[in-house]
């Protein structure tokens, strides 16, 4: 009986071509647009990469040690910081204007740095070069105060040796790309949009919502078997769509880590939540299907926007002001689960998110089950 219902429900869903195509197409299209627009923003704007600079020598010989320092910074290797080109003033100016170099170092009367804009990269450049000047002055000061040559040598070594005076600790091995939130939010949105199908299917389940529901309710088939089969069919389609989207995003190169099983679990529960949301809204009597879809859209969009769909940082803002909202917003839980999966080594946070998602699903399904249980109605 379950399979009989499941098979036909699946067939019905798969034959609604336009809805099916859009269910699949819209997250994939959005992922494409997002990837095109900022997929590499983290790499290019936030990650440290070799900085191309131009050096203009206008005071031959006066900058011998500084040049050696530059050479050290631009030596090929893991910690290469600069890529240095020696240019004339005009060439350098032009190169800066069309961004083939990010800074110009003028070795003139005094050392000057030209930048094109106020950027973190420019500040890094300034800081690194400044450090040289400061070290030089420091050593000179030591010499003036009568330090021994050994001491001076040790100081120079310490200053240029590069052994850091602090321990750098990374809190995560995963991608720290904040823009990933956008991609996570696509999943949240598309999972919640599963409610559209659920609204339509639910209206065909209940006697007080339409003739079809009435006919089905009159059959000897168990009520929960039928609801369960409908749910399973919707879940099959939605989960498959989510998996395809996930596959597509991974192919695009969105860095979501490699914990695929965890991702499957999130998407599975996410699909469940979306469908359950649709079932509940769908079982409201005396409301047109369009009105119910409208409610679904509104809720889904609201929750997704609260989970960083249209501006990254909103979720963080909520976390700081009303963290409780993030614990009950399935969209936020879903994106957070993805983040935790990607960035946390310990599974606690991820499992908490998953647990909350499961609890919300169970709650929604429980209410749905209560609403949809076989019953006599006061009016039809």
């Amino acid at each position: 009986m379950f399979f009989h219902n499941y098979r036909y429900a699946l067939q019905s869903i798969l034959r609604k071509k336009s809805s099916l195509i859009w269910t699949l197409l819209f997250p994939i299209a959005l992922a494409t647009f997002m990837y095109l627009s900022f997929g590499e923003l983290y790499e290019t704007e936030e990650r440290l990469s070799i900085i191309p600079v131009a050096v203009v020598s206008e005071n031959e010989g006066a900058y011998g040690e500084f040049d050696a320092f530059l050479e050290a910074l631009s030596a090929e290797g893991d910690d290469q910081l600069l890529y240095v080109r020696r240019l004339s003033r005009d060439e350098a100016e032009k190169a800066l204007a069309d961004e083939t170099v990010r800074g110009v170092i003028i070795e003139g009367e005094e050392l000057t740095l030209w930048l094109r804009e106020n950027s973190v990269e420019g500040t890094v450049l300034k800081t690194v070069l400044e450090q040289y000047l400061q070290s030089e002055a420091f050593v000179r000061g030591l010499a003036a105060s009568g330090a021994t040559p050994q001491e001076l040598l040790a100081a120079v070594e310490a200053l240029t040796g590069g052994e850091p005076y602090y321990t750098e600790t990374s809190t995560s091995d995963g991608s720290q790309d904040l823009y990933n939130n956008f991609f996570y939010a696509i999943f949240a949105m598309s999972c919640l949009f599963a409610s559209f199908t659920a609204v339509v299917r639910t209206s065909k389940l209940q006697a007080n919502l339409g003739a079809l529901g009435m006919r089905r309710q009159l059959s000897p088939a168990g009520r929960m078997t039928m609801v369960g089969a409908e749910f399973a069919a919707m879940l099959t389609v939605q989960f498959a769509a989510e998996l395809l989207t996930l596959g597509y995003m991974l192919l695009l190169g969105v860095e979501m880590g490699e914990r695929y099983l965890g991702m499957f679990a999130v998407l599975f529960l996410g699909s469940c939540v979306g469908i359950a949301q649709g079932i509940i809204i769908g079982s409201i009597p005396r409301l047109s299907e369009d009105a119910k879809t409208g409610i679904c859209v509104s809720i889904s969009m609201l929750l997704s926007c609260m989970a960083d769909l249209v501006a990254v940082g909103i979720k963080g803002l909520i976390e700081r002001s009303v963290p409780f909202l993030n614990r009950i917003n399935p969209a936020a839980l879903l994106t957070d689960a993805f983040y935790a999966l990607n960035c946390y080594d310990t599974p606690k946070r991820f499992l908490t998110d998953l647990g909350l998602l499961a609890a919300i699903t169970a709650l929604l399904l429980g209410v749905s089950g209560f609403v949809l249980r076989r019953n006599r109605y006061a009016s039809l």
């Binding site: 009986m1 009989h4 067939q11 003739a211 059959s219 000897p220």
Partner: protein
């Protein structure tokens, strides 16, 4: 005796409105039972209560001797319903729809296949097996609706106005089909506000009004319940008012209506009323046009019992 359906003292209220008012009904096995009444008289409410779709305030409902409850699954297996509104999946073909609904009752695949084929043939949709409902005309859609309701060979079938908005050809096919189902052993409960249909196929009829069962019996029994046995209409112009008394004095006449053009005489009993009337007209030397005599219809029965027409 075990009735197919037994309703006792059923009361159903929608807030202030009393939809069923101590309604009683007994349907024997093997009958085609008609529920006749104007729109809003409570026919569909009765059926929905019997099917346990609606809750009711008071009363008892038994189907094949057993109490009918929302979870009476075994009982439901024996029941088929063809509802007023077409209830099929738009995304599934004719055959798939019938198979789906049949499958809710019959798990055996091989058996189901035969049932589905029989149902499709029964309603004459063989050529449309692969069609989606959207491609079917109104009449064909109704037939699909019927096929979905009866494919599992139920012993008790409810037809709730199955011929609304159906072309005459399809209507006849549907009515014939219902008679055939009955001949094959099914008890049929048929609601309609088309009295001709009910007269044509029903073995017994209950007339409903305002949620009450106002009369019950075979067509003949119902007609016998009322005073009127014949009505004769005469086209006659300029009848003097004093003639009315003479007309009223004719044997069996109990009512005379005249609107200046048509004279209507209502009779209670008598076998040769037309002859007697013509004799009177000739004797009084009155000129008249056409004359026709009508036997009472269910509408007259209804009119007389409730004081209003069936299709007001």
């Amino acid at each position: 005796m075990v009735y197919a359906v037994e309703v006792a003292n059923l009361v159903k209220r929608y807030r202030e409105l009393v939809a069923l008012d101590h309604f009683n009904l007994q349907i024997k096995e093997g009958e085609i039972f008609g529920l006749l009444g104007p729109n809003g008289s409570g026919k569909t409410t009765t059926i929905n209560c019997i099917l346990s779709l609606l809750s009711y305030d008071k009363g008892e409902i038994r189907v094949f001797g057993q109490e009918m409850r929302p979870d009476s699954y075994e009982l439901r297996r024996e029941i088929g319903v063809v509802m007023q509104n077409v209830a099929v999946f738009d995304e599934l073909t004719v055959e798939e729809n019938v198979d789906y609904f049949c499958g809710l009752y019959v798990s055996d695949k091989a058996l189901r296949k035969t049932y589905v084929n029989e149902a499709i043939e029964f309603v004459g949709l063989q050529e449309f097996r692969k069609f989606r409902p959207k491609k079917l005309s109104g009449g064909l859609l109704r037939r699909l609706n019927i096929a979905c309701g009866i494919a599992h060979k139920p012993k008790l079938i409810f037809f709730d106005e199955p011929t609304v908005a159906v072309d005459p050809q399809s209507r006849n096919k549907i009515l014939e089909g219902i008679e055939r189902l009955n001949q094959e052993g099914a008890t049929v409960v048929y609601t309609s506000h088309y009295m001709e249909e009910v007269e044509q196929i029903c073995t017994r009829i209950a007339i409903m009004d305002n949620g009450r069962n106002v009369a019950i019996g075979t067509v003949e029994e119902l007609k016998r319940m009322i005073k009127n046995t014949e009505q004769i209409t005469v086209e006659i112009i300029g009848l003097e008012p004093e003639r009315r008394a003479e007309l009223e004095a004719l044997t069996h006449v109990y009512q005379v209506d005249y609107d200046g053009k048509l004279l209507k005489l209502s009779y209670a009993g008598g076998n040769h009323n037309l002859e007697a009337l013509l004799d009177y007209l000739h004797g009084a030397n009155l000129c008249y046009g056409s004359v026709h005599s009508e036997l009472p219809t269910l509408n007259d029965v209804f009119l007389e019992i409730t004081g209003k027409g069936l299709r007001d």
